[in-house]
Symmetry: none
Subunit: 205 residues, 4 copies
DNA sequence: GATGAATGAGTATTCATTCAT
DNA sequence: TATGAATGAATACTCATTCAT
């Protein structure tokens, strides 16, 4: 409960070590899951002793929390790529969907995300961190939707929220399709995904 | 390897006990996660000794497998309700979406589904069972889409598959929205969900 | 500790049931060892419920004790066969050695004997029972050695004891050779066993 | 299957700890038997936590295997003492029998050997290790019998094998006599053991 | 007499965490 | 700063034993 934080004489080194651990742990969690990956394996992957990790993190749980804080946003920032792209948003996204689906259908990556979501369902702190990231991601996407190049820039806030959430749901959901239906091909998905996206990015009549 | 099953002289009692365990275990898994919930807690929740549970299930894993087999199908059978409903499928589903979203936004239920999905990412057998259920659900939904009352009954197999998977993704994804954005309201979702569904259930162009 | 004994209305049936259990248990112990064989397996082999066995035996330990009491003597009565045989003892035994070795080199049987001996090393009661049997067997063998047809009938008590114990040791030891040297053949053994037996059954010098 | 072995930065300490465990375990197995002795008791006897033992041994089975490998050879190397002794083998052994019997009649040591033999009857790997040791011991003894100072150095291989096995049987068997007949005295045994040994170490007619 | 449902103490093993060095 | 030896509580699972029927 109490957040006691170690003092480090060389903050730069400390930061480097923290990242070493986070990267290693993320990798292990991805491969084995949060419960499946042991501190021993993480420490070996991180190239430092198990004991030493505790100079940077108070517990294994603190590690996954830090991973979320570091990686989460990226995880939900599917649409980052369209931020600086000129041209109509709809066109850009339809064109980018191909690449986007490909990236988000990666089973390994999904495993970690699932792990985190499941953890969020029962761990308040994890839930809070993920919600923050999600909020951030939604805000960013909203900016896209209300930008000059968007066809729905005049929609009400509520409608925008609706569009954003359904789009996000679709993306998250597609990521999980692979777990339940491994044979599913990217081009099959795109066949229906593109029309649905078009609808969600265009005015509703 | 060998599936040896205890003989029970009173099959009704045995079935009751099995369900006792499944219900208790589902509850525990929901609250603590598959790995977080111990047999001790499950047995206390089920109102029987830990040892006795093993007269009905060969392992903890067998329990989650049975839960999947019991619950999974129902989970994906959202569309069962439309099977016998007369009238155009699109209209029915748009009308039913209200109720459907409500049911699938239940946080508790989602927690268990997430747990299962996360486990599936690591556990072959769990994955297989969930895939079976999903296949079954897709088949049933496909029957709806190719039925007399469907607007897309003439679509190619591949296109049908696309539609089905994107719709399923949306449903699954929406379920998870609540974890990441608890304030999200049902009616907000419907605002964008209905148009998207209309697109996915109507001919493209 | 306290030896409470069940009353049985039909003593004959009770005795039959006891033997059913003992035979089944001996078989299981032989195949799986004392610790390896469970009451469940024993009860199935005996054709009665596990609970019912406890109407005849107070514990699993009581079963192995009873087995010893029933079987032990036979185990050490290798020489029974010569009791009624006419002719010189030495000749009889040398002739019988062939058959005797064959019988005592059976691995399965030895397993149970070993189990019992090991148990005797730490269980007072088992030890006592086995010692009783051994004493009985030695007495009987002594009778052979002091009988009319024996070449050493005039040896002192101590010398007789010596002969008996070394012979018994050899028999027991040979039984165990098979565990440590499975390729050992009966006829090889006899090559040296016969001369040794001749020495042990003839006057020294 | 894969034999992964923990790395230890201080091999001397590791070796000391391993021996601590082996000694403690041997003691516990002797008193309670392999199945009767729990890791908890072993760890307490060894003066370290149960968990820590697993840094040196992969399993309880690995412990008994290591004990065998450490102790077994010595157990069967009764005859080591005669290796460097000048003089006729027969004389040496008859003279040494006194001391040999004394050493091999130790009840405590026998208890452990019995335990191991009993385990070997059920456990393939244990059996294999003991057979290896036995083979080694027989080979060494054979060298004695075929040495310059032996009276039977010209015997056939098969006959030698016979002699060796009967002698070994006698030794092993005598060790067990004490369990079944605790009052048996060393000098009584020797009375018959010496003539038998003489026969087994001299040409057969 | 006979069952088998139910118990609960016991098992080996794992693993996050601590701490002396 | 860094190690890894050491801990001990927790884990899933087993099995002799009891007892209501």
């Amino acid at each position: 409960m109490t957040e006691k934080q170690k003092r480090h004489s060389d903050p730069a080194l400390a930061e480097a070590r923290r990242n070493q651990v986070l990267t290693a742990a993320a990798d292990c969690f991805r491969r084995k899951g949060y419960h499946g990956a042991g501190m021993a394996e993480i420490s070996k992957t991180a190239g430092m002793s198990a004991g030493h990790i505790y100079n940077y993190f108070n517990s294994k749980e603190a590690i996954i929390e830090a991973i979320i804080q570091r990686d989460m946003e990226e995880m939900f920032s599917v649409f980052q790529q369209f931020e600086d792209d000129p041209g109509e948003l709809l066109t850009n996204m339809l064109d980018g969907a191909d690449h986007g689906v490909e990236r988000h259908i990666d089973k390994e990556k999904n495993a970690l995300e699932l792990e985190m979501l499941a953890e969020a369902a029962r761990n308040q702190k994890v839930a809070f961190l993920m919600q923050q990231s999600d909020t951030h991601a939604r805000a960013r996407f909203r900016r896209l939707l209300t930008g000059e190049r968007s066809l729905v820039k005049d929609a009400t806030d509520k409608e925008l929220d609706a569009r954003i959430n359904v789009i996000f749901a679709m993306i998250t959901g597609l990521a999980m399709r692979r777990t339940l239906y491994p044979e599913l091909q990217k081009d099959t998905i795109l066949l229906a995904l593109r029309p649905a996206l078009r609808t969600l990015l265009s005015p509703f009549n």
